[in-house]
C-alpha cells in the first residue's frame, strides 16, 4: 500500500513535468480560435499544416535555427578545446604557481559576473561587437567550471606513465595532447559538451543585449519576438509550433543520451 502511494506520487510529479510539453505539442496543431476556447483542447487538431505555412510566412525560423546551431556549435567546440587543455595542464604538469593559479580559478567561480554587466555591454559596443557572434561565443569559452571538470577527469583517468613514455619516444607536446590525451577524454567531453551546448542554445539574456538585428536572432530571441509582437504573437498556434521546433532537437537528444549524460553529471560531481 505504502509502495503504491510512493509510486503514485512519483508518477504524479512526472506527469506534472510532462504535461506542459504535451500541451505545447497539442496547441501547435490547433488554430488560435480553438486555443482560446473553453474548455481548452486536450488532443491534437488538424491545423498543423496551416500553422506551419503561417509560420514560414511570418518569421524566418530556419534562419534562426542556423544562427543557433552556429553559435552553440562554435561555443561548445571552443569550450571543449580550451577546457581540456587547461584541465590537462593543471592535472598533469608541475609548474611554478600552479596551485595559486588554480586557486584563483576556483575563486572566479564565486564571482557574480553580473557586477560587470553594464561595462561588459559598453565594451562590446566599443569593440563594435554588437550584432556579432563573437560576443556570444568567445568570452565564456574558457570557463573555470569546464577546466575544473576536465582537471578532475584527467587526474583520474590519464596515466602519467603514458605521457612519460610518449616524451621518451620524442613526441612533441602538441602531438601528445591531440594524439594521446584527447582520445581518452570523450566521456568527459560528452557531459561538458552537452551542458555547454544546452546553455548556449537556451541563453536569452546575452543574445538579447548583443543581437539587435532580427536576421541574426537565435531561436529564443525569435520566440520572444513572436510572442512580444502583438500583430504576430496573436497567432498562438504558430507560436506553439515554433516553440516545439525550438525544443524538439534538445528533447530528443536528451532522451536518447540521458542515461549517459545523467551518469556523467553525477560521476563528475562525486569527486569534488
Amino acid at each position: 500500500m505504502k509502495k503504491i502511494l510512493l509510486y503514485a506520487s512519483l508518477v504524479l510529479v512526472g506527469v506534472a513535468m510532462l504535461v506542459p510539453f504535451y500541451w505545447m505539442f497539442v496547441l501547435a496543431t490547433r488554430s488560435t480560435s480553438e486555443i482560446f476556447r473553453f474548455p481548452p483542447p486536450f488532443w491534437f487538431g488538424d491545423n498543423l499544416a496551416s500553422n506551419f505555412a503561417n509560420m514560414l510566412r511570418t518569421v524566418n525560423v530556419f534562419g534562426s535555427y542556423l544562427n543557433s546551431v552556429i553559435i552553440s556549435t562554435a561555443y561548445t567546440f571552443l569550450v571543449l578545446l580550451f577546457c581540456s587543455m587547461g584541465g590537462y595542464a593543471f592535472a598533469m604538469y608541475r609548474f611554478p604557481g600552479r596551485d595559486k593559479l588554480f586557486g584563483i580559478l576556483l575563486v572566479t567561480m564565486m564571482i557574480p559576473f553580473m557586477a560587470g554587466i553594464v561595462p561588459w555591454f559598453i565594451m562590446m559596443a566599443k569593440f563594435k561587437l554588437i550584432n556579432s557572434y563573437f560576443a556570444l561565443i568567445v568570452p565564456g569559452c574558457a570557463n573555470a567550471f569546464g577546466i575544473f571538470w576536465m582537471r578532475q577527469y584527467c587526474q583520474n583517468n590519464v596515466p602519467g606513465s603514458l605521457i612519460d613514455a610518449a616524451k621518451i619516444d620524442g613526441c612533441s607536446e602538441w602531438l601528445i595532447f591531440f594524439r594521446i590525451i584527447v582520445p581518452i577524454l570523450p566521456p568527459a567531453f560528452a557531459a561538458l559538451g552537452i551542458m555547454s551546448f544546452i546553455g548556449s542554445w537556451n541563453d536569452f539574456m546575452q543574445p538579447l543585449l548583443i543581437l539587435r538585428n532580427s536576421r541574426l536572432f537565435t531561436l529564443p530571441l525569435l520566440l520572444r519576438y513572436l510572442q512580444g509582437d502583438p500583430m504576430r504573437g496573436a497567432d498562438q498556434g504558430v507560436l506553439m509550433l515554433a516553440n516545439t521546433l525550438a525544443v524538439l532537437p534538445l528533447l530528443i537528444a536528451f532522451f536518447a543520451a540521458s542515461k549517459y549524460f545523467l551518469s556523467g553529471l553525477t560521476a563528475g560531481a562525486i569527486k569534488e
Partner: protein
C-alpha cells in the same frame, strides 16, 4: 675562469630573468592555461572593476560622464520601485527554493534508495525541464495560466473552485505563477546534484541504519542531510545567484519589462537592465544597482558559509598546524 664567470652570472640572476626562464621552461603548461586567464581579465575582471568606477558617475553613453559620488546609490536605495523589485525577487526566491531544494532532496533520496524501480526513467523525466529554454517554457506556461482557456484554470474549475485571473486584477497572482514555473523548471537540476552527492555516501551506512530499525524519515534527516551539508550549501549559493539573475521567465511570462500589473512580477534583474543597457541609458545608475545586488549575494554567501560550514570551529587550529 670560464666556469667562475658562469657561476657569477648565475648568482646575479635577476628575479625577472628567473621568472622568464621558468616561463620558457614551462611554456606549454602556461600556454594551455592562458586562454582562461586572458579571457577572464578582459571580459570578467575588467568589467567588474569598471562597473565599480562607473557607479560613481552619471553617464548616458554619449555625453561626458559626470562624477556624482554616491548619489546613484542614494537614488537607488530611495527608489520604491527598486525595493518592490527586491521584495518580489526575495518572495519568489524564498518560496520557490523551499520546494526546489526540499523537493529535490526528497526526490533524490527516493531515487537513490531501493524503494522503487525504473529510477532512470523518473530521473530523465524530472530533468527534462532543465534541458529546455526558459523562453519556450515561459511561453507555454503563459498559455497554461491563461485566464479563460488555460489548462490550470480548467483544472481549478473542475475541482469546483473559481478561476483565477493570473495576470490581471491587482497582479496578486503573478508571483505565485512565476514561482510555480520556477519550481517546475529547477527541481530536477537540484535533484541530480543531490543524487551525485548521495552516491558518495557508503551503502553500509544505510544498511547499518536499516538493521538498527531506523525509519526512512530518520535515515533522511540523521544521515543523508548531515552528510550532504556541503552540497546543500553549494546549491543554496547557486540558488541565491540564480534568483538574483531571474530575468527571462518573468519577462516572458508577464510579456513586459515592467513585470505586469502593478509591477508585481518585476525582479531586480529586470529593474537593472531596464535602466541600462536594454531599456534606458542610465549606465552609472545601472552599475550602482549591479553592485548593490552583488553585495547582497556576497552577504548571503558569507552567512551561508558561517551557518553551514561543518568544520568552522576546527579551521583556525588546522591552519596554524
Amino acid at each position: 675562469m670560464n666556469s667562475s664567470t658562469l657561476s657569477g652570472k648565475r648568482g646575479a640572476i635577476s628575479p625577472l630573468r628567473s621568472f622568464l626562464m621558468q616561463l620558457k621552461k614551462n611554456r606549454v603548461a602556461y600556454a594551455y592555461i592562458s586562454p582562461f586567464y586572458l579571457l577572464f581579465i578582459v571580459f570578467g575582471l575588467f568589467p567588474i572593476v569598471a562597473g565599480l568606477y562607473l557607479s560613481f558617475f552619471s553617464w548616458d553613453g554619449i555625453s561626458k560622464a559626470l562624477f556624482v559620488g554616491l548619489r546613484n546609490y542614494a537614488r537607488l536605495l530611495t527608489d520604491p520601485m527598486f525595493w518592490k523589485a527586491l521584495y518580489n525577487t526575495a518572495y519568489i526566491g524564498v518560496f520557490a527554493h523551499i520546494f526546489i531544494l526540499g523537493g529535490g532532496l526528497v526526490l533524490a533520496y527516493i531515487l537513490n534508495s531501493d524503494l522503487v524501480k525504473r529510477k532512470d526513467l523518473f530521473k530523465t523525466v524530472y530533468f527534462l525541464p532543465v534541458v529546455t529554454s526558459s523562453v519556450v517554457v515561459a511561453i507555454v506556461f503563459q498559455a497554461m495560466f491563461g485566464t479563460n482557456s488555460g489548462l490550470i484554470n480548467y483544472a481549478i474549475q473542475s475541482l469546483g473552485l473559481h478561476r483565477i485571473d493570473w495576470w490581471g486584477g491587482k497582479g496578486d497572482y503573478i508571483k505565485p505563477a512565476i514561482l510555480i514555473m520556477f519550481v517546475w523548471r529547477w527541481i530536477g537540476w537540484n535533484m541530480v546534484i543531490y543524487l551525485a552527492g548521495m552516491q558518495g555516501i557508503p551503502h553500509e551506512l544505510y544498511e547499518a541504519a536499516e538493521m538498527d530499525g531506523a525509519r526512512h524519515s530518520q535515515v533522511f534527516f540523521r544521515i543523508t542531510v548531515p552528510i550532504l551539508k556541503p552540497i546543500i550549501l553549494f546549491t543554496i549559493l547557486q540558488s541565491v545567484i540564480g534568483t538574483i539573475n531571474l530575468f527571462t521567465e518573468p519577462l516572458v511570462l508577464t510579456n513586459s519589462m515592467k513585470g505586469g500589473q502593478n509591477n508585481q512580477g518585476l525582479t531586480v534583474m529586470m529593474y537593472l537592465l531596464d535602466k541600462a543597457p536594454w531599456g534606458n541609458n542610465l549606465y552609472g545608475y545601472a552599475s550602482a544597482c549591479a553592485y548593490v545586488l552583488c553585495a547582497i549575494i556576497v552577504v548571503f554567501s558569507v552567512i551561508n558559509m558561517k551557518l553551514f560550514s561543518p568544520d568552522e570551529a576546527e579551521k583556525p587550529t588546522r591552519r596554524r598546524a
